[in-house]
């Protein structure tokens, strides 16, 4: 949550905590969950922590089938890169790179290893 609030600058909603009863999900192996919604514009990112979690430590690199990544526009990607670097606690996984004629960006990882890109449209 701190990553998406402080680094990705999303708005944080209330943290909900409870028993996972008839959740509609296919799993019956967990008993408790914490959930929070982070919002930017009309997009809602739901973060869920299952207790106990399972499947941790997997390789979430973008080339793996079923992996996800998140890409955010920022107004000034050089400033964002400098800001994230200055924090010192976020894994930056690529240098600033220009793609084509209108995009410049870099990749980080969220605390679970999900690739998170920050990109600026340069014209």
């Amino acid at each position: 949550m701190a990553f998406y609030r402080d680094v990705a600058e999303m708005n944080e909603g209330a943290v909900l905590e409870g028993e996972n009863r008839a959740s509609g999900t296919p799993s019956k192996e967990h008993s408790r969950m914490k959930m929070v919604h982070l919002i930017t514009g009309t997009f809602v990112l739901q973060l869920i922590e299952y207790v106990p979690a399972r499947g941790g430590g997997r390789d979430l690199r973008q080339e793996n089938v079923g992996s996800t990544h998140i890409s955010f526009y920022v107004p000034d990607v050089e400033a964002k890169y400098a800001q994230v670097k200055a924090r010192g606690d976020v894994k930056i996984t690529s240098p600033l790179t220009t793609m084509g004629s209108s995009l410049r960006g870099f990749y980080t990882e969220d605390p679970d290893g999900i690739p998170v890109e920050f990109v600026q449209t340069t014209k």
């Binding site: 997009f43 399972r54 941790g56 080339e63 990544h69 890409s71 526009y73 690529s94 240098p95 890109e117």
Partner: protein
Amino acid sequence: MAELFHIGLTVKDIERSIAFYRDVAGMSAGEVFVGGSKEFDTLTNNTNAKLKVTYMTAGSFMLQLIQYTAAGGAVLALHHNNVGSPHISLYVPDVEAKYAELQRRGDVKITSGMVQIARNMRSFYTEDPDGVPVEFLQLTK
């Protein structure tokens, strides 16, 4: 505040996934283009990756589907409670009708019954062709 550009999903077969997100999820399909470059490799720490890419849209939300045709990786075991596992939740105006429609189609894996998940939310889960959980949800009041 940062603004969302897209959520990306790496898929095994882009045409199969486009058909799901277009015909089942009701998103709009864009053009498929072929990608891969030195710059993309730099950003994603890969070598000689080749891709097919498209953007599916629903309102202002963009879902980027990527199929690696070179330098692809493993197939992840996806489950709602696996750390790092994505899921997608889409509003529908009539969740009972959606459930009946998907049951009739017969080619979509429905992974739950219909559930009143909250006082004002009724939903069920399916899986996309790669096993990503996709929920259809109606606000009931």
